[in-house]
Amino acid sequence: MPEIFINGHSIQADSGQTVLQAALAHGHEIPYFCYHPALSIAGNCRVCVVQVEGRSWVEIACNMPVTEGLRVLTDSELVREHRKSMLQLTLLNHPVDCGICDKAGECTLQDYHYKYNGAPSVSIDPKVRATKFHALSERIVLDNERCILCSRCVRFTHEISKSHALGIQHRGDASLIRAAENHSFDDDPYSDNVIDICPVGALLSRAFLYKSRVWYLEPTPSICPGCARGCTVNLWHRKPEWKLNALDPRHNRAIERVTPLPNPAVNGPWICNKGRDLAKIFERARAEQAMQGGKPVELHAAIDAARQLIGKAKRRVAVVSSWGSNEELRTFNETLSGHFSAYVKSDHVPAPGEPNQDDFLIRADKNPNSMAARTLYPALPEAEPMFDDATDLVLIWGEGFDFARLPQRARTIVLNAYAQPENVAADVFIPLSIQTERRGHYTNFQGVVSAFEPCFPKPASVADAEMLFAALAERVEALA
């Protein structure tokens, strides 16, 4: 543990750390563009300059190993002057079109300019022109004029996603980030991470392009339900104070974008592209109307009818959702499972063409909470017969159940959040809330428990599964 001094403050650094890493770990700010904790050291942006006490020159902190007794200044006159000049050079050929840039508001170059430079350009020569709106992949658009060539994206595809899909063409100030011609960047299931790690607005999501200024949005911590990895994510949606009544009300409760919520225990700072498209999962057509025999009824009437069915039935089977939260599963277990033989089903299976499993994040099980559900109940058997002839009631919670497998004379209670034709055929249908409307926890395949928070209010006509299970179980024995 070498002791080093940053601006005179003593720090216990880890041997093997660089000055930049040690400084950041102890709350000393040193600006940087090309450094990223998960990537190799490139040392090309030259903004993280520091001065070793007693030396008359500056050096980059990201490539300076800590040594016992090293004394470093991060804010000397020389450092300030160099940092400012370096930012002027970084901005020399940058278009400074923040007004129309999606990154504005969360751009490191913008922040550093205001913090460390603040001076107008000293150049009177025309800026280098480069490609704008270059379609780097089907998902990502690249503005080469905004690019500061920090090479984070290139290193990401070489070191993290291993697709080796990005590289730099040409040289000098004509250098361009380009994708390999074999379309490997289109096939990189982690490609959208380069949008997050781009320190400027060069790499932008085509799905989010011009959708919203980021300062109108706020993040809600959540979990990607796309597979058993359970990556923690931020769901970005409009701030309540920036609601637009003039717009389609759906705009005020839309997930505008999804970014990783860094989590060393599960996904680090990354997520896969499926996680970016959670809006496609959450914003499918909802079922919001309770039904009895296909006819709309009030929610409380449907709950009462379901109670009656449970009370009257002799042999009851429940098919439990692997998308239920730990809390919902626990409530089900405490209230209803005494009345049912319960099995867990896979609500979702891999879609055609979806990456099945790799050695990075993506798991073959496309459900977020199979782990917790299967510690309580066995998996639904694949082979027939799954229900014996005496089965006279089946409760189906969630999606992905093959209704053709139902026994002929069994009555059905269906609990589901999304519209599907079978909802109408159920004896009782009760609509449920979705993950973005409640809080809870999932247990991932490794046993790591993560939390998700609500970001939108639940429609009044749908039930929270936790409350519903308690209501269904209430004095149900008395009805027999």
């Binding site: 050291i41 490139a42 040392g43 090309n44 942006c45 030259r46 903004v47 300059v49 020159w57 500056v58 980059i60 490539n63 190993p65 160099h82 000049s85 370096m86 050079l89 970084t90 020399l92 050929n93 000293v122 150049s123 009177i124 020569d125 025309p126 280098v128 500061i148 060539l149 090479s151 590289g167 730099i168 040409h170 040289r171 000098g172 100030d173 004509a174 250098s175």
Partner: protein
């Protein structure tokens, strides 16, 4: 850029010829992450001689401090360009006037770029009594560098010469680190603008400022080198730049060729 030692190794590895950050030094982690010594052929040939004939034999030529010989690749406005092996301490004027046949077409000498265009220019007056000895040349404010010597005849336009040099640096910059990538293009655009008659008096100080910014702040030595060349020429021939900016034309008709008659 692939002549820089680490850029050379990166290039051999089949990657873009980007120079590498130090540490680690190449002798710690070089080619394919193994310790690697990179030297010029000239250095290695000297080693052969020293091993074969002994140190004393090597010391019989050259000066006490800098024994041996240097290979000088002389080009530019010179009657007999080529690669010469010169004993260290050899008189510079004699080397140019007698061994290399003097300045082309019998012209007078204006200046010499001693060891590759990254070394600071030395005027005819400065080299008159100088010897070809690294220590002596460094004392005069320049360096024998690579031994790539360029002779410049009287009547050559130093603004155009710097323009050619900066075009080379702009073209050659690998684009990896910010000061060189942006600075080389900026220097090139400024000198192009001066040559186009759009120069401003403050441009020259700006060029010196950009050069200073590159001094010691880049991954490899190229940024520094371009700065030395620029600062070197501006220090000694600033009047030619001021003339061009003021009169929107060259004092020497933008001449880069050596005139046949005077």
């Amino acid at each position: 850029m692939c002549g820089e030692a680490s850029g050379l190794l990166t290039s051999i590895e089949g990657k873009r010829g980007y120079p590498r950050n130090r540490p680690p030094r190449l002798t710690v982690r070089g080619l394919y992450q193994r310790p690697t010594v990179v030297n010029n052929v000239e250095t290695l040939s000297n080693v052969v001689g020293i091993i074969a004939n002994g140190a004393e034999a090597f010391r019989t030529v050259g000066t006490t401090k800098n024994p041996g010989t240097r290979l000088i690749s002389i080009s530019g406005h010179i009657a007999r360009p080529g690669v010469y092996e010169v004993e260290i301490g050899y008189p510079w004027a004699k080397f140019i006037d007698e061994d290399c046949g003097g300045v082309l077409h019998g012209q007078k000498l204006k200046c010499v770029i001693p060891g590759g265009i990254s070394t600071k220019v030395l005027t005819a007056a400065e080299i008159k009594d100088l010897v070809l000895d690294p220590t002596a040349v460094e004392a005069a404010g320049s360096s024998l560098g690579s031994g790539g010597m360029i002779v410049v005849a009287e009547g050559t336009c130093m603004v155009r010469l710097l323009q050619v040099m900066l075009r080379f640096y702009h073209h050659e910059s690998c684009g990896q680190c910010t000061p060189c990538r942006e600075g080389m293009g900026w220097l090139h655009r400024i000198i192009d603008r001066i040559v186009a008659g759009e120069g401003r008096p403050e441009d020259l100080d700006r060029m010196i400022g950009i050069s200073r910014l590159n001094d010691g702040t880049t991954i490899c030595g190229m940024g520094d080198a371009a700065g030395y060349a620029t600062v070197g020429i501006l220090a000694k021939y600033r009047d030619e730049f001021d003339y061009w900016i003021e009169h929107k034309r060259s004092r020497f008709d933008g001449n880069l060729e050596c005139p046949r008659s005077s």
